[in-house]
């Protein structure tokens, strides 16, 4: 069994468990809800923390997301998405709403003494967004899709994804005109879609 296969099997197993828990949560099962939090809470908190970069705000988002899951678990549709994807998009959307609403300064990574270096070489915390993007793509097909993007689009998508930057913030951070950044994002996403859909990795 290849690494990709075993990773996929582990993911499928975890997702089956989460789907079963969500189904019980929809019936008001508190134990299942606690177990769902135990299994998915840390991943979702990691997602929130990564995007909003502010622990109290990430905690608030996680709390709101789970309150919403308790009320709306019944709307989860196994045919449409994986449970972890569904949960992560609830958290991501709340993060993005908060970021846009509060206009929190998420662009701290561009400042510092290295202002002459190309913006995307400045380390933020740990692996760069592009590295994370590639690391997350544990199925080879996804990794290949991400890797096939040109440098600009890849960078823009990674920053938007992992640091919640808006078009305007991306332009400031990458020091490129807004139009260029918008078109990188657009081209990158189009390409990603074609590639992911062709590879059949997203159902």
């Amino acid at each position: 069994m290849s690494g990709d296969d075993s990773a996929r099997a582990a993911r499928a197993d975890r997702n089956a468990q989460l789907a079963a828990l969500l189904a019980r949560v929809a019936l008001g099962d508190q134990r299942a809800f606690a177990e769902l939090y135990r299994q998915a809470g840390a991943h979702l908190y990691g997602v929130a923390l990564r995007i909003v970069r502010n622990a109290p705000l990430a905690e608030e988002i996680l709390q709101e997301a789970f309150v919403s899951v308790w009320h709306h678990a019944g709307t989860y549709d196994t045919a449409k998405s994986q449970p972890i994807t569904w949960l992560a998009s609830i958290v991501r959307n709340r993060c993005l709403d908060q970021l846009r609403k509060r206009e929190i300064d998420t662009v701290t990574l561009a400042s510092g003494p290295d202002d002459d270096a190309p913006a995307w070489d400045i380390p933020s915390d740990g692996p760069t967004p592009v590295e994370l993007l590639l690391a997350g793509a544990d199925a080879r097909a996804v990794r290949d899709c991400v890797d096939s993007l040109d440098a600009g689009p890849k960078q823009a998508i990674a920053l938007a994804f992992f640091q919640g930057l808006s078009h305007g913030e991306l332009a400031a951070h990458l020091r490129e005109p807004l139009g260029t950044v918008k078109s990188w994002v657009r081209r990158g996403l189009e390409r990603l879609r074609g590639c992911l859909d062709a590879a059949g990795v997203v159902r």
Binding site: R11, Q30, R31, F33, A34, E35, Y37, G41, A42, H43, Y45, G46, V47, L49, R50, A55, A58, E59, L62, Q63, F66, V67, W70, K80, S81, T85, A88, S89, R92, L96, R100, P123, S124, D125, G126, P127, L132, L134, A135, G136, A137, D138, V142, V146, I157, A160, F161, F162, G164, L165, S166, H167, L170, V185, R186, L189, R193, D197, V202, R203
Partner: protein, 239 residues
């Protein structure tokens, strides 16, 4: 704007993609979310893109949220704290927590920590084993380093981390499986040594992670962590 019309599909798809990625301006974002609540085509486009985008999220390191988050959820929903208990295991027994925590802390803290360490190498020119110990806020608090053959770990404080009065920080080795192994109490001070019985490469062979807990002065009386774990970090080996 009727986004469901077939000639608008390309535009809808682009808007949905940017919504899912999160780059849309706030006004467009609110508008699209509102339309999706009553228009199935729009809702389907958004959810298709959310699935594509979310598949990329798997690399984000898990970080265990503070216990108050769950307590707040239980309180807000008026659930039964007993029925909805998540505490089936002692916190230190949940080694998945330690590891996820260590990975996350390391990922977030390494740039800061290593930069600090490089500015002021505590011992000689090269320390081929480095552990950045960070708390859940991902701020580096302590940096442990050692060179092959050392019978001690050099621990440098890079934050303002001090144990509570009458308490001490104790350093633990977290094996891949099984219970934490005591390394020793960290003496007070900005740059200190924690003695090891054996050379560091033997003491820490097969150990992926170190952690620091708060213990009574003199160390844990039980041989296992008894107080809260404040910091942890993955061991980076450069030898």
């Amino acid at each position: 704007m009727n986004l469901s019309r077939s000639d608008r599909r390309a535009r809808l798809d682009r808007l949905a993609a940017e919504f899912a990625l999160g780059t849309s301006p706030p006004r467009v974002r609110r508008r699209l979310a509102a339309i999706a609540r009553r228009d199935r085509t729009v809702a389907a486009a958004l959810s298709a893109w959310e699935r594509r985008i979310a598949i990329l999220a798997e690399a984000v390191p898990a970080v265990t949220p503070p216990p108050r988050v769950w307590r707040a959820i239980v309180t807000r929903l008026g659930l039964d704290p007993q029925g909805a208990s998540t505490a089936s295991l002692g916190w230190w027994q949940r080694l998945g927590f330690w590891r996820a925590f260590a990975t996350a802390s390391f990922v977030a803290a390494v740039a800061l920590g290593l930069a600090e360490w490089r500015r002021a190498p505590p011992e000689g020119p090269a320390a081929p084993l480095v552990v950045v110990l960070a708390g859940p806020d991902a701020k580096a608090a302590l940096i442990a380093t050692a060179t092959r053959g050392d019978r001690y770990l050099t621990v440098k404080s890079v934050g303002n981390a001090v144990p509570p009065p009458d308490k001490a920080f104790e350093l633990w080795a977290l094996p891949q499986s099984g219970t934490p192994q005591a390394i020793g109490v960290i003496p007070p001070g900005g740059l200190v040594r924690v003695p090891l019985v054996n050379p560091v490469e033997e003491t820490l062979s097969n150990i992926p992670t170190l952690a620091v807990s708060v213990e009574p002065a003199g160390g844990s009386p039980t041989g296992k962590p008894t107080g809260p774990v404040l910091y942890s970090g993955a061991i980076e080996r450069m030898y």
